[in-house]
Subunit: 161 residues, 2 copies
């Protein structure tokens, strides 16, 4: 579980560095699909990751809109502020939490029940999904996207043979 969160954090840092060479106009430009823009997507990745971890902890959610975080520096700052909360939860994860139920009241009055394990995987997949969208828009900008490779990042220790 931790491996894929660490992967996503590395990929997000790679995207921030990628953004440094791109004009703010391009980062904010309205685009087809997903959240509709590069920087807005990075904000959304940070926001959603944190919000789900808060939900599992039974803590109140973040209600800010992208309008208050519409620059690379502001998104990075928000990321730094949220990362500590997320990291401490993720690094304390243990397998006994996998099948624990999480109740999520829906707008229609029903209550969705998911396991904590499903929610953690949802958070991981959500991030990768949106990074995939960024990779298409990167080509629209005319710039090579960040690598989506999990391998080659030294994320896991190799067993001695």
């Amino acid at each position: 579980m931790q491996t894929m969160f660490r992967y996503n954090w590395l990929v997000r840092e790679d995207w921030y560095r990628w953004c440094e060479d791109v004009s703010e106009t391009e980062l904010l430009r309205a685009r087809t699909g997903g959240i509709g823009g590069i920087l807005h997507t990075l904000f959304h990745m940070v926001d959603v990751e944190w919000s789900w971890i808060r939900a599992l902890q039974g803590k109140p959610d973040f209600q800010e809109s992208f309008n208050a975080y519409d620059s690379l520096a502001k998104v990075r700052e928000l990321d730094r502020a949220f990362r500590m909360d997320v990291e401490s939860f993720v690094l304390a994860w243990d397998n006994s939490m996998e099948h624990r139920p999480h109740l999520d009241p829906q707008p229609n009055g029903k209550v969705a029940v998911d396991t904590w394990g499903e929610i953690m995987r949802h958070v991981i997949a959500h991030h990768i999904h949106h990074a995939g969208q960024l990779s298409v828009w990167a080509r629209e900008v005319g710039k090579k996207p960040v690598s989506a490779n999990v391998i080659g990042r030294g994320l896991m220790e190799i067993a001695a043979e």
Copy 2:
């Protein structure tokens, strides 16, 4: 590990059904980013998933090109043929395999060493990444993309309280 493979297989089936209502012209149209087209991406997802599992097993890789699989029916048929191999490997996965080294000779003469666990996660993330690209192109076609949600699919059993 198995949960995320099952998630990807469900999502892939959803994308096949999504393709049923879309013209072959749109499915084959050249697009910006990624592999450059919707059906070609689905072929690539099937191909890469299988190829990595074959590599872990030390078996020879598949060398066909998309030209021989350029219809929805052909990609689905290839998927059915490959799925059995992939499923039997994934469902037999156990945690003792996580840190086992896999040696991958590179074109430059070096040998990349990754753990089996990294490669399995790479295969999972690769699939989600490309599905994210499909979701952008879906909007170009003017059609709502397949849901990327992990939650709500009944992928894990909920513990009795």
